[in-house]
């Protein structure tokens, strides 16, 4: 079975693709608040921000990759 690259956004006709698959995993993870704050930091400082993810989010990303 061909696996999607979750780092690339795929536009589909089924719903509004506001974000990518990886974006959806992050938004719905337990780390979402941390991610939201990090984005605000990245925007205000103009530089990339690294977020340390919890074990469950890392696992969710791996699961998303496997589909």
């Amino acid at each position: 079975m061909k696996r999607d690259n979750i780092n690339i956004r795929h536009f589909s006709g089924s719903s509004v693709p506001v974000g990518s698959k990886i974006g959806m995993v992050l938004i719905n993870s337990v780390d979402s608040r941390k991610i939201s704050r990090a984005i605000r930091e990245a925007v205000s400082k103009g530089e990339k921000q690294t977020v340390e993810l919890s074990k469950s989010t890392k696992e969710a990303l791996q699961v998303a990759k496997s589909y």
């Binding site: 006709g13 974000g19 990245a42 921000q49």
Partner: protein
């Protein structure tokens, strides 16, 4: 000829085109599906109907025991000659189950083709690259960042592509009574009003601050709904999340 009967016949002829449009303009583009005047309905559905009929009729003829569309019978129903109308109705009555089955199947297929075609157009961003395919939902292009692909767009991404956008983040300046707040959060969905304008925006992990303050305060809850009518300004930020080798992520604005 009864005018209503003629109208029904024309409607049946146009139905595959209508079904195709239903599939093609579904979900966030459904405001384009409804056509209120008959001339526009006719122009917009005749062409897809004719294409679908011209492909499906030979299939029906060769694969299902030689059934064919008898245009003499069809035009007979539209005729002003009463005996011709009567003989055509008798002929239609004889094959009513086959005709109904054919219409149901062809309309389901048309709907499926419309959906698939829409999927392909969106997948390859043909709607953003080519004005011919563009949907009349500007918010779809703005909120997903696809407007960057418009020919007239002055924004160019140097290092990333539109497909690299993982999260759309918003800053919205909102008037609440006499106070003006800045709301920020991750955009998760939106809703259009009947006239095609933005109605609601759903944001997650939202924070807000008075415009004069510097510190944001987190808003607890699952989703914050912002009404577009209360928004004075909207800042869209497109974020890419890069996965690192240790499993953590780096967030940055696309550029």
């Amino acid at each position: 000829m009864d005018i209503a009967l003629g109208g029904i016949i024309i409607l049946i002829i146009l139905l595959p085109g209508i079904s195709f449009r239903k599939g093609y303009f579904s979900e966030e583009f459904s405001n384009q599906y409804t056509i209120r005047d008959f001339f526009n309905l006719f122009v917009n559905t005749l062409f897809p109907s004719l294409i679908i009929y011209s492909f499906s009729l030979p299939v029906i003829y060769y694969c299902f025991g030689g059934y064919y569309y008898d245009f003499k019978t069809l035009l007979g129903v539209l005729s002003s000659n009463d005996s011709l109308v009567e003989s055509s109705i008798v002929q239609i009555d004889k094959f009513k189950y086959q005709i109904i089955s054919f219409q149901v199947i062809i309309n389901l297929i048309s709907f499926g083709i419309g959906l698939r075609f829409r999927d392909l157009i969106l997948h390859y961003s043909a709607d953003a690259r080519n004005k011919f395919f563009r949907y009349k939902n500007i918010w779809h292009y703005l909120l997903t960042g696809k407007f960057i692909l418009f020919e007239r767009s002055q924004i160019r991404l140097e290092n990333d592509t539109v497909e690299d956008i993982d999260i759309t983040y918003i800053d919205a300046i909102v008037q609440v009574g006499e106070n003006v707040f800045t709301y920020t959060g991750v955009l998760v969905d939106y809703e259009l009003s009947e006239d095609g304008n933005l109605d609601l925006m759903y944001i997650k992990d939202a924070s807000r601050k008075l415009i004069s303050e510097s510190e944001y305060k987190d808003i607890q809850g699952h989703t914050l709904i912002l009404k577009y009518n209360n928004i004075l300004n909207l800042n869209l930020i497109f974020i890419q999340a890069e996965e690192q080798q240790n499993g953590n992520i780096t967030l940055r604005m696309v550029g």
